[in-house]
């Protein structure tokens, strides 16, 4: 039997170790400065090993009894009125998501340690914050009622703010302010929507809300609540009319922050959106939202790609690719089909890894002073290994097999066709083509043009920094050639959708 401690264990471990991280790393910094990086990585590896053990414990407990009880609810107070208590909820979707966070989280934290290093004396706080954000994201994923979800989700958003502001450059302060304002507006919307839902159903528990909403006679209030909640989460996900904060934040942040946020917080926000829309709040049987969302999805893809096309700053271009990725994710959500959920879950992993890979590679180039498209000229020959990783990111974004990006795009678009929205699939495919066009421009600059004189002094590639980058490359190629590794986990999760949709 699973207790509340089991479900909370991974996040609790992360929180506790995050608190210890500051003194431990300060100690290392003081006395073992020579080996700061390696000891730091060792410390983070230790934390991840412990968290992995805790997670594996939860997952095995879940998977053993998955057949008879696919949706596992755990209540903090289960005696008198469980539907009012804080609760946690484990199904195979959330189990899968935790695996995704831990994998990409580990790699991007290794990158951060190598990237930030010992130069900046605040680095230990930075790593502690990353652990905090990871912990709250995992808790939000496991949460079983809308309030717990909201609290942990806001905690992770607050942590993200501090991660963005880390370098304290004027741009990052500006971007962080923008992000904060948007997040606060979003939480206002969500809380307002949640209060209406509470009034309608008398509970915020996922199942109780679901059951109550299905038999709801008058839906006019529900529509208002839905609009508020959906808008709130749309702001946090950066769906197009609300996307302005994302490119600013990701461009101004340190590359390691951008990689971490795009790989984890971004994907978690898609997960939350999917969870709220498909699983809990309003499946299409209650409220018919897929068409509206499809329009937003088409808008998000198109706007993201068109703006990316116009960018000359490489990092900003990748940030807009993130916006376009949101559109692709929405395509799959709108289908409300098991295949779409499969595509989504695959995309959460792969899209996160690919954007993280791109940000990491761009971060390495930024360190050498290469920021704009022009500066990339000729770097393909001077920095072959770094450029190759960027080429692989580009190919994965464009959906060229055998890279993992292809499988995710294939599933997403096929799901759209299956959901009866061929026009959306066509728009998505055209967008994908546009994306290939402007991303190939990066490759064109790297290999076809002569090196700028300014960068002739570059001799050495930062070999150590490339290790986490190539871990991601290996994962992307592996998942592209043999997706069954992950599909084995995704497939049952997607099939569970059939249990929910009549």
């Amino acid at each position: 039997m699973m207790g509340i401690l089991d479900a909370l264990m991974p996040s609790a471990i992360l929180f506790i170790f995050a608190i210890f991280t500051v003194p431990v790393l300060r100690f290392i910094h003081q006395y073992k400065r020579m080996h700061y990086r390696s000891l730091c990585i060792l410390w983070i590896l230790t934390i991840f090993v412990i968290v992995t053990v805790a997670t594996v414990r939860v997952l095995t407990k879940y998977y053993i009894s998955m057949e008879e009880d696919p949706f596992k609810q755990i209540f903090l107070v289960s005696e008198s009125k469980p539907i009012l208590s804080t609760s946690f909820f484990i199904d195979s979707v959330s189990a899968y998501m935790v695996v995704v966070y831990l994998t990409t989280g580990l790699i991007s934290m290794i990158y951060s340690v190598l990237f930030v290093g010992e130069k900046n004396h605040l680095s230990e706080r930075y790593f502690a914050l990353m652990l905090m954000v990871l912990g709250s994201v995992i808790a939000a994923t496991f949460s079983g009622d809308l309030l717990t979800l909201f609290i942990f989700w806001e905690a992770s958003a607050a942590g993200s703010c501090l991660l963005i502001i880390y370098r304290k450059t004027p741009e990052s302060i500006d971007a962080c302010l923008k992000y904060l304002v948007m997040i606060i507006m979003a939480s206002g919307f969500i809380v307002y929507g949640l209060s209406i839902i509470y009034g309608l159903t008398g509970s915020l528990n996922f199942w109780a809300v679901r059951e109550a909403l299905i038999s709801l006679p008058d839906k006019s209030l529900l529509i208002i609540a839905f609009v508020f909640v959906a808008c709130g989460y749309a702001i946090e996900t950066a769906i197009v009319p609300f996307h302005m904060w994302l490119p600013d934040a990701y461009t101004a942040a340190t590359p390691s922050t951008s990689a971490f946020l795009s790989a984890i917080v971004d994907q978690a926000s898609y997960y939350v959106l999917m969870r709220v829309l498909i699983y809990i709040l309003t499946p299409p049987i209650i409220l018919n939202w897929p068409l509206a969302l499809a329009i937003f999805s088409a808008l998000t893809m198109t706007v993201g790609n068109l703006f990316a096309l116009a960018q000359t700053n490489v990092k900003r271009m990748i940030s807009y690719v993130c916006v376009a990725d949101i559109g692709y994710n929405l395509v799959a959500i709108t289908s409300v089909k098991p295949l779409g959920v499969m595509g989504n879950l695959f995309f959460f992993f792969v899209g996160g890894m690919t954007t993280a890979l791109a940000f990491m590679a761009v971060g390495i180039l930024n360190n050498l002073g290469i920021k704009h498209l022009d500066d990339l000229s000729g770097t393909g020959r001077r920095l072959p290994i770094t450029s190759l990783s960027l080429v692989i990111a580009v190919c994965s974004f464009s959906g060229i097999p055998p890279l993992a990006g292809f499988m995710s795009k294939y599933m997403v678009f096929t799901a759209a066709i299956e959901g009866g929205m061929v026009w959306l699939a066509v728009i998505g495919v055209l967008n994908s083509l546009l994306q290939t066009g402007y991303l190939l421009r990066l490759v064109h600059y790297m290999y076809a043009k002569p090196l700028k004189r300014r960068f002739c002094g570059i001799r050495e590639e930062p070999k150590v920094l490339l290790i986490p980058v190539y871990m991601l490359v290996a994962l992307i190629i592996l998942l592209g050639i043999y997706p069954s590794i992950i599909l084995l986990m995704i497939h049952p999760a997607a099939q569970q959708l059939n249990l929910l949709l009549p």
Binding site: P401, A425, L433, L440, I490
Partner: protein
Amino acid sequence: MILLLAFLLPLLSIPLVYLVGRESKRKPAGIIAIFSIIDLILLLCTVPEVLSRGRYVESYYWMPMLGAPLTLFADGISLSLAAITLLLIFSSMIFASDYMEDSGSLWQFYLLMALLTVGLVGVFITANLMVFYFCWEFMLVPTYFIIGGWGYRESYRAAFKFFIFTHAGAVAVLLGIGAIYMLTGTLDMFQAKELLAAAPQEFLKWIFIALTLGFAVKMAIVPLHMWLPDAHSEAPAPMSALLSGVIIEAGAYAILRVSLGTVFPSISDVSVNVQMLHALSILGVISAFYGAMTALAEDDIKRIVAYSSISHMGYVLFGLSLYPCVEGTIGAVLHLVNHAASKGLLFLNAGAIMKQTGVRDINRMGGLASKMPLTAFSTAVSSFSIAGIPSLACFISEFFMFMGGFQVGGNNSLYYATTTFMIIATVFSLAYVLRFFWKIFLESSKIQEARDPSILMSTPMILLSIVVILLGVWSGPIIHLMSSAEIS
């Protein structure tokens, strides 16, 4: 096991090429050549099975959740195309070992070549649409870098154009494949063919159009041909041989196998059927004329050959439009094989001439016949085969297609007209080939010094000349092999 090995063998060559390539400039080419010969022998091992049962199939675990096991198969058509592909890779690698010697970072070139081989062979021997698409797109990235990195003038521009055009085509193919999966729940070509019959008709028509459009881009059928002249003429000669010899052929093969073989039989509306085939037939005629006439007007040695490829893909499309007539389809597939050998050889010759003289403009050549007799001989064989002179390869297949055209014309009079036009197009082919040959080899000499290329470059030229002549005079076995395949 045989086909899996044949599929993965080129992958095994990659680490070897990497290790050897950093030290030696010629050895990696040899490694790829040896691997392709072993691959060829492996594939030929399946011939008895194919002849007796019509098809040889292997299936492995890959992605059952998406209806995609790793199904490999060989029948007469795919086997003969894979065989000519490997033969062409072998020849162009031997050719490249000398031809490419002056260029830099050769190990990267050969690494990309080895990667390309995987896609080139795989596309012909798989029965699963997902694996097929993997191989189809797998050709793209290595080709981009090969054309861009080792090509001639503005090569990255040409490569960019190639990449965007073919990727756009592939994206249409992806939609079609996704729709097939949605309708049937399987991605196996043969299963899908049976299950599609029960699918809604209006979908099928659009699937057919999307797939054919996507494949036609790679095949460079006229309104979609703009990438071809640049890419083929700016690529290094061994790559041009593969581009013209295999990659555009893959488009034609895919139309036959996927559009016509899988989706088309399920379209039950006869008038739609006939319209589609008519469209293919007319597009074929337009391509044939356009390519031939532009080739007649070009002065650049490689662009002439490139435009001739467009013209010949028009012939093949015409042949495919005769589906399900056996003469027409067999003729089209045979033409693919013959054209691959002839055009590959012609591109190698053009490369040899360019390397030995340093000139691209055919007006500035002339009188090379006495200085480069061997090149003159193999150019004569390949170009006259392209023109359709009897006893050389392409004649037989063109003859088959025209025969099929008149046969189908009995029921459908449009084909009388298109077949007649195709026959007229051969006159233009002869015209540009004669002009090409005359200007380079026979006219009064404008080049002082030129010699036949070295032994490494001339061996593959002689080898392919023999193949072209053999295919022309003794095509019985290969036709026998092809007709063992189940076409309709």
